[in-house]
Symmetry: C2
DNA sequence: TCACAACACATAGAACCTCTATGTATTGTG
DNA sequence: CACAATACATAGAGGTTCTATGTGTTGTGA
């Protein structure tokens, strides 16, 4: 199947939207599963690492979202200024845990709906 | 697990973002798989129907996106003014088919990455 | 005949989002 | 000394869907 500029542009947009819809879930998830509190820069690297480079976010993307999640009460943060560098460590709250759990359920329902839809007639479609 | 207002707000936003990232794919998909060209109002109803009410879009959402997909060259449209009502029928183009096929691949890769990530330690997490 | 729902498309403006680009400052490295 | 990596921050651009509203037609029930 040919992949013209038109098609590429669409796919770039599509991938971007897929990613962006999931950022919050991924952030909550990473912070929840880590044994110790995490800081922003670290999260960025670990997402990249754990997804084998499939998912990569910039600082300008992540920091505002972490602040947003904190403002919503799903995360809480503490500054550590005693270490080698000042770092802002995030932990998940009770509401955060609840939101994460429900969001994962929603994700599973949603991806199931999409899967059913696109596999209804066996995928790749018409001649 | 309690579900506070805070949590509900987050989930509403989350669900909305999930949905919106997939609209284009769903529209291309529906139009591609239909035997005959489809018109906007019909697409809205069929999405609702085929997903058992899980996915529902408003006219104000769908029409601009159909136009956008046409402007990008992934759909083409024809007005039918001879029937009982004037309707704008959409068909998928070659680029549209290509974009759809790649987008489905991307979706499968992406949902796989997320699935791996969130099932790495067996789901729900925490004590 | 009248009122109202459903059909069918259209669009302006609001509200929201992430990303680009840039800035600050410190620490390690060649 | 210059530069890369670490670490956080934010303004502004650019993009998106959704809300709300408008137009007009057809069908339906009282």
């Amino acid at each position: 199947m040919r992949r013209t500029k038109t098609v590429d542009k669409f796919l770039t947009k599509f991938d971007k939207e897929l990613k962006s819809g999931m950022i919050s879930l991924i952030l909550l998830f990473m912070i929840d599963r880590a044994r110790d509190p995490m800081y922003g820069y670290q999260i960025i690297r670990e997402i990249k690492e754990k997804t084998d480079g499939n998912l990569e976010f910039k600082e300008g993307t992540i920091y505002p979202i972490l602040r947003n999640l904190e403002a919503r009460g799903l995360l809480k943060s503490v500054w550590d200024t005693k270490g080698e560098r000042p770092r802002k460590y995030y932990q998940i709250t009770k509401d955060g845990k609840s939101a994460l759990s429900h969001a994962i359920d929603d994700w599973e329902t949603f991806s199931g709906v999409i899967k059913d839809l696109i596999s209804r007639d066996g995928g790749e479609g018409g001649p």
